[in-house]
Symmetry: D2
């Protein structure tokens, strides 16, 4: 398989793609990003790295951070997490409050906003907010083996200023006891996690442990093989909001998207892949990111559903 050629072809195709989606506008820092950007990075199980386009430019990982928050939260409370968060696709948009009311304050899964707010609540236990944020950042740096990864404070502040809907979710779950700390510090932790900035290269590196059955490529286990599989299953069934089924259908890889335009996709035993293009489709997932992964899956046969 000639990955460099495949990547070059995809980058060229994406450069000329007419329908690039719409850049998220809800916070100024995101709205200003150039819609022409496209980057891709692949780390294979052998440890080789392949890159194309704007693979070294940082972007706001937004909801992709939920994968790392989930891994951290499972490390803290294990399967007791599932008493407070479900693991079913939601059937609703990422910030819907309807499902929460019907299901007594238990978010459907950890990858919708309400679920990730519960993750922040779990990760906050015994910490000051800035300690919890620091711990998550350190964890991501360790996964990516890159200490230069940082939080974009301007994005975090913007999230706080426009986060009324997330505030509503947090208070709503507080009323049910699903959120246990005060909503304000929980949300502070949540907003900072969303504001982590990474490049495709860094993100693909951070996803390696999921490709490797939970092992850190530099030694030791991040999580057990079983937990790695389970995180991947959640990415497949819930990783693209209410278009998760469509992503599984078209791409066939566990993946998690963010409104910054990034997607982290993992093929167990094969590859950890990050793509980025800031324009979003109506479901809130990167338009070209999804298309690029579809092309990559076709060219490589990297689908968990056979090849």
């Amino acid at each position: 398989m000639d990955l460099p050629a495949i990547l070059a072809r995809i980058v060229a195709e994406m450069r000329d793609a007419p329908d690039r989606g719409a850049v998220a506008r809800y916070i100024p820092s995101l709205a200003g990003v150039d819609p022409a950007r496209f980057g891709i990075a692949i780390v294979t199980a052998d440890g080789d790295t392949f890159m194309g386009g704007d693979a070294n430019i940082g972007f706001s990982i937004q909801s992709i951070s939920k994968v790392f928050s989930l891994t951290l939260a499972l490390g803290k409370v294990g399967d007791r997490l599932w008493e407070r968060v479900g693991r079913e696709p939601s059937g609703n948009s990422f910030n819907s409050i309807v499902q929460l009311e019907a299901e007594k304050g238990i978010p459907r899964n950890p990858f919708i906003n309400a679920g990730a707010i519960v993750l922040a609540d779990v990760n906050l236990a015994g910490h000051l907010p800035r300690e919890a944020i620091g711990e998550l950042l350190q964890f991501v740096r360790y996964l990516a083996a890159d200490d230069s990864i940082a939080i974009d404070e301007a994005v975090a502040r913007s999230e706080e200023q426009t986060g009324e809907r997330n505030r509503a979710l947090a208070h709503f779950m507080k009323s049910y006891g699903t959120v246990q700390h005060e909503p304000d510090p929980v949300l502070g932790t949540y907003f900072h996690a969303c504001a982590i900035e990474m490049s495709c290269r860094q993100l693909a590196q951070a996803g390696r442990f999921l490709m490797l059955g939970g092992r850190h490529p530099e030694g030791g286990n991040v999580v057990s093989a079983r937990r790695a599989r389970r995180i991947l299953s959640l990415m497949l069934t819930c990783g693209h909001y209410d278009a998760s089924g469509d992503f599984a259908f078209r791409v066939g890889m566990p993946g998690k998207s963010g409104v910054g335009g990034g997607i982290l996709a993992v093929v167990p035993g094969r590859a950890s892949i990050a793509v980025w293009s800031p324009g979003l489709n109506p479901s809130g997932n990167s338009q070209l990111g999804g298309l690029a992964l579809e092309r990559l899956a076709e060219a490589t046969g990297w689908s968990i559903f056979g090849h």
Copy 2:
């Protein structure tokens, strides 16, 4: 891997399982089935067959037939099918009508009842109902390479007599134009598909083409490799009603369950597996069937999310 020993252990464990779920009672033919039954059959990619328990006893495949109806319907209308049926997990129970109203008569996916009624509508085109039923039965016999497979007419009649909810779904979709024929013959076709009777051995045989990238083990392609992958992705995200996420999380295999207590699970490139135990959990999926597949996945490493 010593599959016979693994199967023997699972059969023994299931024999003694205290919580066997509750047998479906909505039609007399199903209610009378012995809850002590448990069967399992595995056909590997090499063509070997392994069986345990009541693997040769026929049962009503019910919603598992939706996999075969979907394959047939895709063969008839191709991707135009997706104009009339979605491919997202539903977030609701299998016979809910709420989602249908919110989404203008388009069922969320082909594996909820409303979706499978659309499949029946597609498969009825140009046929009398008994021809459409005959065609589906022939297709299943061909997949399983077993001409003894038949429809249990008593079950089909019972379905018709108690099918008011499905009748409501059909008329509702007719009002939106999603269903195009008269509801009565469409439902007749649908009820007969549910009433197909198969053993675990026959069902595992019928699932081989999905394990083999669309190829029939005796030669030729049933569907393209790409279509096989896509059918498997739908089984993973939508195959267990509103417990599909949980099944993916615990078992990690694409699977489709039926209220008769059967489950067809497929590991691409590895195995086609059928289990059967008539007691259901509250989500309507076989209680011991799911548990047995979880044990099998642990013992064999057969998960699409890594091993």
Copy 3:
């Protein structure tokens, strides 16, 4: 109070009204009605009749028939009716099926389609469909003291041909046992009730018993005073689908509308009023009919909320 002058002014204003709404198009017989039509008839408690515009032209009373079906059904089963139908405003559109699923097959009130199908089921008991239809027609003739009132068979047939949504509602309720007869004859009864044709004059006459505390103006009680009050309360809270609150707010009279463009409004102790103009507002209620009643209430002080 100079009712003739008030009516003349209203008729003149309605003749020139620029926004007349849109005529219902779902069946051909309704779609062909002239949108320029406007009629009004008032029968006072003294027995005087005042008319304006097209008060003697027949139109399809559609959902207004639900008032008469309810009165008849209460006569047959009394308060046991409320075990099968609620008496709360629905918060949803007239033919929504969502509420039915959430509330286990019990329609919210007798004036949404699902509720009126239950009324038809009650009124069918012990009858052939044509007997039940005949009984309702006789009852309406008796109330209006006018034997010329008839059913428009073309409308009834059109309703049957386009009634898939109502068919869905009936089968859905049959699955819960709220509907007890076979859906087909129940729907036949329902569709014929909707197809009764009356003029404003006839309709205002038929509403007199509600103005008079249950008494028939020609002697005897149609219902008890208490039942008359209760029917009026249902008209006020549920008589205009999901715009009932707005009608109460603007007009302040118990009223029931139909998609044929008619409204029956009753001021207890004062007046029985019928208006008709075929153009509907987005909520499915007569645009000019509602406006005319608002004007009438302002001019006469006929509001049940004070004057």
Copy 4:
């Protein structure tokens, strides 16, 4: 009509009523109230006052305050209020957030919690929270002609401490722009309004302007006759949460209930009535309060639907 005798009979019947409902427990100050309490006060259009039971004991008026907040808000912004709040019955429980999401942040009516939070937002404009609270309290004192009416600060504090659900509603509406101020001061205003303490006698006095077509009995107009009618129509269609239809059906008077166990009911031109009994039925309305008003309506013929 012998009102003293009627009241005496009702008080005796309520004293012995076996099913008294359950006292609200969500805040300590309410949970401690004696469930044996029952009071009733009637002020007639002539200015006579009749009382029975615990008519002079203060209780927390809770949601009844929404009537006064609405009157005040209409005085400030007039019909522009209806751009931010609907006037339809909700079909959901008093603190549901589902409807808000479906209808883009516009509460269905001013008498559900979300609607009353918008009223607080309107009444806060140009004020500090304590000024807005002071203005509402002064307004209620003026209506009741009783300067001893006060806010129970312990109740207000309890509301604040347990108000996560209302906080969620406020932030949710803030995200839509329906709430314009910061949620914290809006909620402070809202919680204090709920914590006003009044006796039945005071409450019946405060309701006189609605009985009198908007006139203050001591001279001048509180609101226009038309606005008084409209407030009464909202009380009838929306005043008892999702049991408003049932209250209209059984009692036939515009009324507004609160979880403190009070109900204010008004018969235009006849009577302003307050009842209080702290036990609630499952819909959150006073069990004996509703029953007492039903008995009163039967004995007096005071129904707006005829007598």
